[in-house]
Amino acid sequence: MTSDEQGRADALDRLIDVAAGGKAGGDLDPLIALAAEFRRALAPAPASGAVRARVLARVMNRVAASQAAPRLGWRTILRPAYALAGLLLVLTLTFGATAAYASEAALPGDALYGVKRGLEDVQLVLSTTAAGDSALVEHFADRRLDEIEALTGRGRWEDAERALQAYPEVVDELLAVSQADAVDSQAARLAHHLEVLLRVAEKTPAEAQPALLRALERADRGRQEVERRRQDPKPIPPGQRDAEDDSDRGPRKTPPGQERKDQGGD
């Protein structure tokens, strides 16, 4: 190697990063242009958030599979029973608005959590439009995510695991009430959910990893479904879900708010 070659190599190394157009006005131009052409044509795209989430989930799942002892209670009840709206009204009237207000901060497993979910049902009952239902379900979906994050932050793993197990249904409901003009916000919402679940994955112990993996996969499939709708915005009949989404689950209940409208015929 000559000092001339080293000098040209140093200059080239510097210029291929700064001469974006492939020209620097010297005899190194052909090499700079070649590097620029290769970079334009062959540089791989960055990994999408979904790929990052999926691979991490698979890694953590395999780590969990190799570490975790067989567990009991895997098929415990997926979510607490909702308080009926009428019962909730009675409860609110009986114990006053304080309990209802305090329940806002309740997490799954807390005494007042049933009140919180019951109040949500009441709000859905009181909503009279599909757009109103959609906005509420989106708000409640974000709440479920916040609850998962709060539970993992507090180390309440059993409650967190139950919340994660229930999460796929949250995505189902979100997609079922999705409005045609809200695909962008839905896509952004689910991308955010994936990010949060990815953060949660870093703290989640082995026993909750299968539930986390399912939650991640459902959020990712939901995001893909929204992307498909964005490209092919045909109307989705109320309550009708993608056959692909149904392939790995049994029958599910009609989403809150939808049932009322379908049955009522309005």
């Binding site: 190599a9 080239l12 698979r58 780590v63």
Partner: protein, 184 residues
């Protein structure tokens, strides 16, 4: 203002079972490792599977990793190269990536697309005829746009040696492409 923890601290914490520390390492290095794997294999799903293998092996090998001037990203790169060797052993290279590149871009006029596809094929063939270290420095420094310092750490060479290697690699590549053009 809090500074980002250095890799060695994160590795030590991850080794002690801190999942959050491993998550931070994953966030830092998933992209360059995944993109490197993407330029080395034919199919996107293979890159994803290999990335899973790399980070799983890295997680399980944390006890055996000692920094000693060898950055964690270079350790991951080495694991990735080993994973690629296994991958190619099981599945010999079939074709170049022209089709994948073609599919990944926006629709263009057919003539433009054919010309572009043919050019990419020529570029890949010219690349394939270079010595392995020439190919590697072009992948890392040009296709992945990695800084010279990182490329040097990954290839276990000095930055000066990497600069000379890149100069020679691009010169050889240009010669091959020019000869090909003259033959046609």
């Amino acid at each position: 203002m809090s500074e980002k923890p250095i890799d060695a601290d994160l590795v030590a914490r991850a080794r002690a079972g801190d999942g959050e520390a491993f998550g931070e390492l994953y966030r830092r290095y998933f992209d360059p490792i995944f993109r490197y794997l993407s330029v080395r294999v034919e199919r996107a799903e293979d890159a994803e599977d290999l990335a899973e293998t790399v980070f799983l092996k890295a997680y399980r090998s944390l006890d055996r990793y000692h920094e000693r001037g060898w950055p964690f990203s270079a350790f991951l790169y080495q694991v990735a190269r080993n994973a690629l060797v296994d991958h190619y052993r099981k599945r010999p290279r079939e074709s170049d990536l022209a089709e994948a590149v073609e599919l990944s871009t926006a629709p263009r006029a057919l003539d433009d697309e054919l010309v572009r596809t043919e050019r990419i094929r020529e570029m890949r063939q010219a690349m394939a005829g270079l010595p392995p270290d020439y190919q590697e420095v072009i992948r890392l420094r040009v296709m992945l746009s990695l800084p010279t310092a990182t490329t040097a750490q990954w290839m276990e060479r000095s930055p000066g040696a990497v600069r000379v290697l890149l100069y020679r690699a691009l010169t050889a590549l240009r010669t091959r492409l020019t000869e090909r053009d003259e033959d046609q």
